[in-house]
């Protein structure tokens, strides 16, 4: 009897679910009764950011009854595979939120619309050329960069104040040598360290920061082919980290395999004076720091090229298959009006790319380090190699293990160079035949 009842329940559940089962909308985001429906897949994930996006979509829909935008929440996890499948199946969202370093394959694959003729002059001129370079592949522009974040030093303000070291500013930052000397001074060699480097993903962190010393690593020759060279300018940042960990003992070796969030408990617990992190980590710090914990944002050290560093901004693109590219571009223009860009930036704790939005007083307050970050915006450039074909394989198979071994002290600088350049160029050559 009990079994019969169980079977009946299962059948009932399946039957009642049928209305939920067959739900293919089938319209592909196209026109319905003369109205256009656009699907906007957003990767916003923090509540303030999701709220800002949803509010903006509602405002658009209220003002544009003939062009409705549907908000679809995606996720950063597996977004590349999910988009690739959607593109292949002709079911991609009309408006796509992603990061510039994920766009190259899609752009070269013909999945994204070239936006050059679609965007208004206002938006084009509001975003600096150095930001447009992050979304330019070949001759086309395949996304609008709108949010970006520099790497900064989050510091224990009390510790720094009591130590008496010079506090850096964007106008007078530390040099890399000075940074090393100061972390050596701050650490006590007995479980307290001047800095904790979270280098679970060592390649982008190293390459982005190496722009400050003039390091480029990837060089495009007159034949159009990209080759890797590891010169003196490329050595400065990795050597500093290596020496802090292995020579001075001023950086904790245990955090080298950690992500940024993993280092925060030690930072709050007074083990580390500073942690290099992305600018948006401030939100976690505000949420999780113990009562009375005094922290501040410092610029990353500067080199021969000043405070320059690489970034991969968040982007908005339009699917090539979208039948309503102009409407999609108009929505992007609305979303990235200066006042709206500010709302998105505040929601994500990041910096807008737009020059007018960057001037907004809300992003210039001292509280939570906003002012320091806003000052750094003009030094942000396209992350090295994000448009180089073969870079993902070089990063995963060659550079990541090589940097991890170098930072842990398992190999020396010569071996690091040999692997990055020798093995690396073999990988790139396969993509450039």
């Amino acid at each position: 009897m009990r079994t019969k009842r169980l079977v009946a329940m299962v059948v009932a559940l399946l039957l009642t679910s049928c209305t939920a089962c067959t739900g293919g909308d089938g319209d592909g985001g196209g026109s319905r009764d003369g109205r256009v429906t656009l699907r906007f897949q957003s990767l916003a994930w923090q509540q303030e950011s999701v709220d800002a996006n949803r509010e903006l979509v509602e405002e658009w829909n209220d003002a544009h009854p003939d062009v409705k935008v549907e908000y679809v929440q995606g996720s950063w996890d597996s977004v590349h595979d999910q988009l690739l499948t959607s593109f292949e199946g002709g079911e991609a969202p009309d408006i796509i939120h992603d990061a510039s370093d994920d766009l190259a394959d899609f752009a070269y694959g013909g999945y994204l619309a070239d936006l050059r003729g679609l965007l208004p002059e206002r938006l084009k001129s509001d975003i600096p050329q150095r930001s447009w370079e992050t979304v330019t592949f070949g001759d086309g522009v395949y996304g609008v960069p709108f949010l970006q974040e520099p790497r900064v030093l989050i510091a224990n303000a009390t510790w720094l104040r009591e130590s008496g070291v010079r506090i850096p500013t964007p106008e007078q930052p530390w040099t890399w040598d000075e940074f090393r000397a100061i972390t050596d001074e701050l650490g006590d060699g007995e479980g307290k360290y001047g800095v904790a480097w979270p280098l679970k993903e060592p390649v982008s962190a190293t390459l982005d920061l190496s722009l400050s010393t003039g390091g480029q690593l990837f060089h495009r020759g007159s034949d159009g082919k990209v080759r890797i060279r590891f010169g003196a300018a490329d050595e400065v940042v990795p050597r500093t980290v290596h020496d802090q960990v292995n020579t001075d003992g001023s950086a904790s070796s245990s955090t080298l395999g950690s992500g940024g969030s993993d280092t925060l408990p030690g930072f709050f617990g007074g083990k580390y004076a500073m942690v290099p992190l992305g600018f948006s980590y401030r939100q976690q710090i505000v949420q999780q720091a113990p009562e009375g914990f005094d922290w501040q944002v410092l610029p990353a050290p500067a080199g021969a090229d000043g405070l320059t560093q690489g970034v991969s901004p968040q982007t908005l693109s339009v699917a090539e298959d979208s039948p309503h590219k102009e409407e999609a571009a108009a929505f992007i223009d609305f979303l990235l009006q200066p006042r709206n860009m500010v709302r998105l930036a505040l929601g994500d704790w990041m910096l807008p790319t737009g020059t007018e939005a960057l001037r907004d007083p809300a992003l210039r307050v001292e509280e939570d380090g906003w002012a320091v970050g806003a000052e750094l915006a003009r030094y942000l450039r396209s992350a090295p190699a994000q448009a180089v074909r073969g870079y993902p394989e070089w990063k995963d198979k060659v550079a990541t293990p090589a940097f991890q071994e170098y930072y842990s002290g398992a190999i020396g600088l010569g071996e690091l160079r040999e692997r990055l350049v020798g093995d690396g160029n073999l990988v790139l050559a396969r993509y450039q035949r």
Partner: protein, 277 residues
């Protein structure tokens, strides 16, 4: 005698260690779900939250449609389990009882098919489902889960069928029962633990599946729990840890409940005494 006792003690100790190993992530998940943000950032984390809060649960429900997602997951998982078992049981019977070359080849194919990576099949599958207008549909997802679960379900059930003594079926035939009567009245009840175990496998694998659901379901109201859970994750692995733990804890409960309810069926020893010796 002493050696046997010490061996038994070692076995229990190993079992205890294994249980602790298995339970650790789940207990830590529960602990995290009830911690306020400041305790999550503590250098010296505690098992019992000092200042327990339900705020993470409230935030998780406020931010994401967890109940809708749970219902979608339940429909997909129950549907996949029921259909997979209905298809796999007769197939398994044939493969177990009639050991032909075709049955052997089918068994080999079943094993090989388990090695296919998701990425290999997802695009053709997407196109097929699109032509059937089953993209963004839980029914389409159930079809995928059934196909995905079938090989392993079949492999499991073949073993269970082989464990049912053929003498029982022969005895039923001698007593005048037809083939269908024998299958329904004699074999099927004896297979019950195997069928339940197979259904459980199909249910749990569908309940936890992420990639197909991510790719095939487009709109938020159709998404399943594993997909919705990723909405608490940011770029480069940053996570909204408290609400994520709260939602993940809730997501594990149905699996545990289903397992608790039907585990007796699996361990019931229903074959005991079936054949007179």
């Amino acid at each position: 005698m002493r050696t046997r006792k010490s061996a038994r003690a070692s076995q229990y100790l190993a079992l205890l260690g294994y249980l602790v190993f298995l339970a650790f992530p789940f207990l830590w998940l529960i602990s995290t779900a009830f911690k306020p943000p400041r305790e999550l950032g503590s250098l010296h984390p505690t098992w019992i939250p000092k200042d327990p809060t339900l705020a993470n649960f409230r935030q998780a429900f406020d931010e994401q449609p967890l109940l809708d997602a749970a219902l979608n997951s339940l429909i997909a998982a129950v549907g996949a389990a029921v259909i997979a078992v209905l298809i796999a049981t007769p197939m398994a019977y044939v493969m177990a009882r009639h050991r032909t070359r075709l049955a052997k080849a089918a068994t080999g194919w079943v094993v090989v098919s388990q090695a296919f990576p998701f990425a290999l099949v997802i695009i053709p599958l997407f196109l097929v489902l699109k032509n059937l207008r089953l993209i963004n549909s839980v029914a389409g997802l159930i079809m995928v889960y059934v196909v995905w679960a079938l090989p392993f379900a079949l492999w499991m059930l073949v073993g269970y069928v082989r464990a049912v003594p053929t003498e029982l079926e022969e005895a039923a035939a001698v007593d005048g029962a037809g083939k269908v009567r024998t299958l329904v009245s004699i074999t099927a009840p004896l297979l019950a633990p195997g069928i339940v175990a197979t259904a459980l496998f199909a249910f749990i694998s569908a309940w936890n599946e992420f990639f197909f659901a991510l790719v095939l379901l487009k709109t938020p109201e159709k998404q399943t729990l594993p997909v919705v859970l990723t909405h608490f994750l940011g770029a480069e692995g940053v996570a909204d840890l408290g609400p994520l733990a709260a939602a993940a804890f809730l997501a594990t409960l149905p699996s545990l409940v289903v397992f608790a309810v039907i585990q007796k069926r699996i361990t019931g020893g229903m074959l005991a005494g079936a054949v007179k010796s």
